[in-house]
Symmetry: C2
Subunit: 202 residues, 2 copies
Amino acid sequence: MANSKVGGPEIERLIQLLSKLPGLGPRSARRAALHLIKKKDQLLVPLAEAMGVAVDKIGVCTTCGTVDTSDPCAICSDPRRDQTMLVVVEDVADLWALERAAALNARYHVLGGNLSPLDGIGPDDLNIAGLIERCHGGDISEVILAINATVEGQTTAHYITDQLAGLDVSVTRLAHGVPVGGELDYLDEGTLTQALKARTRF
Amino acid sequence: MANSKVGGPEIERLIQLLSKLPGLGPRSARRAALHLIKKKDQLLVPLAEAMGVAVDKIGVCTTCGTVDTSDPCAICSDPRRDQTMLVVVEDVADLWALERAAALNARYHVLGGNLSPLDGIGPDDLNIAGLIERCHGGDISEVILAINATVEGQTTAHYITDQLAGLDVSVTRLAHGVPVGGELDYLDEGTLTQALKARTRF
């Protein structure tokens, strides 16, 4: 309807672009746009600047595939990181999640997705060749597959394991089990079965 | 923890600013930032530009208080709008909602909030003086109070009605009742009581 374009095309365009962000629908994009306009100096101006900086500076690390302002990224170029361990993740978000856990001091390799024949995603669409190349370098002794426990994830994990066969690299995967703080009642049978099989002495 | 700053301070700042948007928490702000960085050309660049345009162009209409790129806004300066009717809303979001409904072709007056003595919000903190002034102009014959049906909203509505007493202006309010498509089972007793009281012939 003609009346729906309130506030002029500039506001409409802002709302339309905001609604493409994950987590924001058309309604919350309107709220977000209005919030930004009302908090012009506190939020809109700094956010526009931060996005401009991101446009100019942030790129993809040619070594591991994460996003960073430097290439190689801060993690790849950090000499204090264990050079013998490589954690393979599907996505940058997974890398960030593992870094927040701060459980290990290794380097990463971001695949950029999972093998999915149904969606036409084959090995060449992922950063798998780069992983094999890094492992051929000779420094890597362990590759930890921190890949989602989905069908596609497990297909990808098997494919990578096959590709690394013959190299002196041990391939490991994350443990399955009950999430810390999780309630048994809410867990699926698959997880419970895995947790029972892999039970440890108390 | 030191490890939580992944991707450098520029990405951290983007995430931190995005998390201030309504509807986005820290977790969804990370997802949004990553999405923006991945869709640099399709989303990040245009959004940064749209925000820059918003910073430069969007302001508040000095007549009605809405946000727009022109002052007076497109609605206030539209000669096809009924000049005798004024719809009083709490917030720009309410104005947008009414415009989407496209149910009437009137002009608006945005109060910018509600009277709330507990929060220290008095008549001078709202755009009430501007409303009275517009009504004194003589063109306005009806003021429709499209104010939220909350305690503060009703306090504000009563205050405005008092202020307009003596002027040749009829003050009306939105009808209470069952929302279209609403299920009686989910409605509160107050709404049902009002809907029964105001029942109409079928």
